[in-house]
């Protein structure tokens, strides 16, 4: 956001809406299949790596995706069992 837009009378929320829609529609036109596939496969692999070191509930690994204009970020959330570090 630039300084000018702060002073413009036009409702800023409308331009936020436009930006959000552009990102969303660009993604929806390609379908959500590829993202779901990537997340599923990465999760499987990450689980395998973790299992080499500790026993873990498969549901304890979750991947979160956040798509932006230029970059998409992945967050990997791993809930370690208590005393996981001792097991290793």
């Amino acid at each position: 956001m630039n300084l000018l837009s702060l002073f413009s009378k036009k409702d800023k929320s409308a331009s936020v809406a436009k930006n959000r829609l552009q990102i969303l529609l660009a993604h929806e036109r390609t379908g959500s299949g590829p993202d779901a596939m990537l997340v599923s496969r990465l999760r499987e692999d990450i689980l395998e790596v973790i299992k080499k070191h500790i026993e873990i509930d498969p549901e304890a690994v979750k991947i979160e995706m956040d798509r932006d204009e230029e970059v998409t970020t992945l967050g990997i959330d791993i809930e370690l069992p208590v005393k996981a570090s001792e097991q290793a």
Binding site: V16, A17, E28, D35, A36, V39, S40, E59, E64, D68
Partner: protein, 273 residues
């Protein structure tokens, strides 16, 4: 182990404010510290993700879960601001039979174990999507605008709630609450709009709240933040927060929104026009 309460937000008629209300109510509950999961049942026309500002983070959806392609935990999208708020998005598939009764039942049963509230955003209409959204509910929020066709459709929905839900099939009574939205304070004064009392009279279900028509709702949806979070002092947010208190069992009178601008508002409007 919690035993979450399942609420369906339904209306029959389209565009009356179900999705707006689902997002506002779910967020208000989560802000009070409740663990809340909002489910979008509008298969093919997913929208709750946009209103909650979660659209960039959706990977899996309700249909993936029902088909066993993802677990519930993997499909839930966590809210960015409220830790105890989650969204289970609708699928964008065109296959209207993608949801099965058994599938939905098992998803809801599992969610009940970890959430205090499960708020189901129903699609418009009286077809399969709408009946599935209400099927496992413990209570219903019936959304209506103050106009004749909306009230008529609510009456049909009330009929379905009393016939096609598990509660009803087991001989129980489905608790129903009327939420009037897009209430126009000016037209209420001139008598162009149905009066709240008359709506309650005709539908004979108790009033949960009256949400005024407001530009703040549009702004909130533009930025992807439910009105009860985006602008908690706005008139519609206050109406939703009051409705939530009543939903939680508080016995408080319903505030009917008034035109606060009074004579000054009129003067200014005269000048601007």
């Amino acid at each position: 182990m919690t035993d979450g309460k399942v609420i369906v937000v339904t209306s029959g008629k389209g565009g009356v404010g179900k999705t707006t209300s689902t997002a506002a109510i779910a967020s208000a509950l989560a802000k009070d510290g409740e663990r809340v999961c909002a489910i979008d049942f509008d298969v093919g026309l997913r929208n709750l993700d946009l209103i909650m500002g979660a659209e960039r983070r959706v990977v899996f959806d309700l249909v993936n879960v029902v088909r066993g392609e993802a677990s519930i935990k993997q499909a839930l999208v966590r809210d960015k601001k409220l830790d105890s708020l989650f969204l289970l998005p609708a699928s964008q598939t065109r296959d209207k039979d993608a949801l099965t009764e058994e599938g939905v039942s098992s998803v809801i049963n599992e969610l009940k174990m970890s959430f205090d509230w499960i708020i189901c955003d129903s699609p418009a209409g009286i077809e399969r999507g709408a009946t599935l959204a209400m099927r496992y509910a413990d209570a219903a929020i019936v959304v209506s605008n103050p106009e004749v066709s909306s009230v008529r459709d609510c009456d049909r929905i009330i009929g379905l709630l009393d016939a096609k839900t598990i509660v009803a099939e087991n001989g129980g009574r489905m608790p129903k609450h009327l939420l009037v939205t897009r209430f126009d304070t000016e037209r209420a004064k001139t008598g162009e709009m149905l009066a709240i009392d008359d709506m309650v009279d005709i539908l004979s279900i108790p009033l949960l709240g009256v949400v005024p028509e407001s530009k703040d709702v549009l702004k909130a949806s533009n930025v992807g933040s439910p009105i009860t979070i985006a602008n908690e002092n706005s008139a519609p947010a206050r109406a939703y927060m009051e409705a939530v208190r009543r939903l939680r069992g508080e016995d408080i009178p319903v505030t009917i929104p008034e035109d606060r601008k009074g004579i000054f508002g009129k003067l200014f409007r005269g000048r601007a026009a």
